[in-house]
Amino acid sequence: MPKIASIDELKTIGEQLTAARSDDAILMTVCGGPGCQATRCHDVAAELRKELDSNGFNGSARLRVTGCHGFCEQGPIVVIDPSNIFYGQVKPADVKEIVDRTVRNGEVVERLLYTDPSTGKTVLTEDKIPFYKAQTPTLLSQNRRLDPWSMEDYLAIGGYTALAKVLSGMSPEEVISQIKASGLRGRGGGGFPTATKWAACRAAHGEEKYVICNADEGDPGAFMDRGILEGNPHAILEGMIIGAWAIGANKGYIYVRNEYPLAVEHAKEAISQAREYGFLGEDILGSGMNMDIQVARGGGAFVCGESTALMASLEGKVGEPRPKDVHTVEHGLWNRPTTLNNVETWANVPAIINNGAAWFSGMGTDNSKGTKILALTGEVKNTGLVEVAFGTSLRTVVEQIGGGGRDGRTTKAVQTGGPSGGCLPASMFDLPVDFDVLWEKGSMIGSGGLVVMDEKTCMVDVAKYFLKFLQDESCGKCVPCRIGVDRLLEIVTDITEGRGSSEQVELLKELGETVAETALCGLGKTAPNPVLSTLRYFPEEYEAHISEGRCPAGVCTELIEYSIDAVTCNGCGACLKACPSEAIQGRKNKLHTINLELCTKCGICLTSCNDNAIVVQ
């Protein structure tokens, strides 16, 4: 494919490709997102390909494997267009029937349709499924329209036209001004106004400047950036090139965490294609702009999601953050002006340029404009990636989109913002998804991870979990984080093991505030949030642990006891076989018992019993 040398040429080619797609062929779309990969969607796709090739469809039916559609819980997903029929949890063995009945004869395979639990009825088309209906998937919906390995697909849906628009007469100041008017704020957790960052970087002194895409996505429970990077990598590239034009940079980096090898491949392939087509390299689209982007891999350190640590890592050093008395927009990578933005932030740029600032700012709230992709996980029926306009209530996300709690249990809280965020109780679910509102309540939207918790989750244990995580990931340079987080963990552990006291609760608050104010970097500064927010909203759980030595959710191992109910146990012996500590005794078909001295409360017996005979209290 020879380079596209001018904006006119891009227009022509784009139009040709768009026209080529809008024929009458039946299209089968298989979701190839992270969740579906794990449930073997590629086996399904391979079967479909085989069926198509061997049955003489001759172009009247096509297959496209795309990036993440969002409904991971229902994967593998196959959508048949033009009727928009949605089949979920498809297995390779189902493929022949789908091709014979649906593709050939237009018949529906009822058992593969999604069943709405609230009505008990099946839903035929993707757009009527409640999970999708309550969303505003402006960015995520692009995924299902393209094969992420295909540049042509991206061009066919208008790819790189935003770049063309910018290079055909918008000055850098105009670009920044449009981003400003849109109200775009960083999607990585900081929520910093993007235009302000770009303007400061533009104004900074320096011949060589850089743009960086932060794809480190270290928050446990978050995989939105993975969904975009593996589903629509060119949107990110296009955004970065536009950003580079705005600040005056010619070089960019995409820093991908080590745990995402597939995302690294996608990024590399997209860059290679962009170079081939002339969107990266010299004299882009005949504008005179030169630009190149490289991929760098992380080494496995959460702290490298912090901008100064990320830059240290790009320089080949250990990922230790440095004090931000000097801003990275002035002295960043190699001490030069650098604009670092999150994957989702970059991916939003092309649409803002093409559709205008008003289109973007028309969605959302006063101070939080546009949409946000959330990773909805935990104890909720519908898990996956969802995109909502800012201002949507947490309740809508958890109940309408998420379908409510699992296995009939009551939802108790949501945890947002990863280890830097906090937990909000169900009573506050009317709060909107909004940067400032959630921050004010002691949590934050963060990168977008939203973990749903129910009555079987112990909130003190959640605080302990996050403190352990941060202790593991702390770089260790500064005292408040290295020692302070460790001491917070020591106190919370005491509480979960029945040694807590109310003086300790006061100490938790005081130490938490000290760490928040004095730590060197964002990791340390926000480390106390999980424990402080759980103390604020779930004091009764802390109280139960401290004064009654009881864990209401039945989680904290030192405070619970496992036993087998004499009535429900049927002596099947499943628990006996499963127990790694050999703590269960019993004869076949007779009541089994647990030896409390050997029992480590690991919970494995609980998952093995089919009759709910294991009791935890």
């Binding site: 350190a301 008395d325 770089c475 260790g476 340079k477 005292v479 004095t518």
Partner: protein, 228 residues
Amino acid sequence: MHQYVDIVVDGSKLKGRKGETVLDAALRYGICIPHLCHMPTLSDIGACRLCIVEHIKNGRTKITTSCTLLVQEGMVIDANSQRVRGLRRNIAELLVTQAPNSRAIQDIALRCGVTEPRYKFRSDDCVLCGRCVRTCNEHYNAHAIGFVGRGRERQVEYPYREKPASCVMCKACVTLCPMSITPCDGPMKPGEGYFCGKCESLTQAPQYEPGDCTRCDLGEGFDCARHV
């Protein structure tokens, strides 16, 4: 020839030299802001967080380390507000309960207002101030020791935990170490550390007041800024 800027620290007008930090300027004027990892002639890393001050700008205050804050014209700093003292005390409390077996550390804790530490004592041998590592790298360019590991596991180590050829046993690292040169006579067993509050500088002071200096010998090897 120095260029000067006017700054205000704790209500006093100082002439800061362009390119120096607020901590350097304050120490030059004899304003003692407690610190541990700072050493003249070594780079400042802002690791111990003891030297924090309030940087007052546009009616808002920001807590930041004075060793990493460069002086600027018109800067207003409060190094001794109640808020700063409270935070500093909590940080010193963390330090002394982590590594109590050093008179220098006990002294710092006392000067920062720690009276009864609220955490269980541990007996670490290192406060990770980084003086040794920075001396070895920056003065001698030997790179014989470095910080290895993350978080709680972070330790000063040789490469492969074996003394390399580049270490010529100059002992510069030892002479700067607050743990090695001012060991405390107190118990060294884990969990049995304690805060006696009686190191030299205190026993010589008729009346304890944070910021007072008694010109004790403790400052000599430790290169305490007050021993100027």
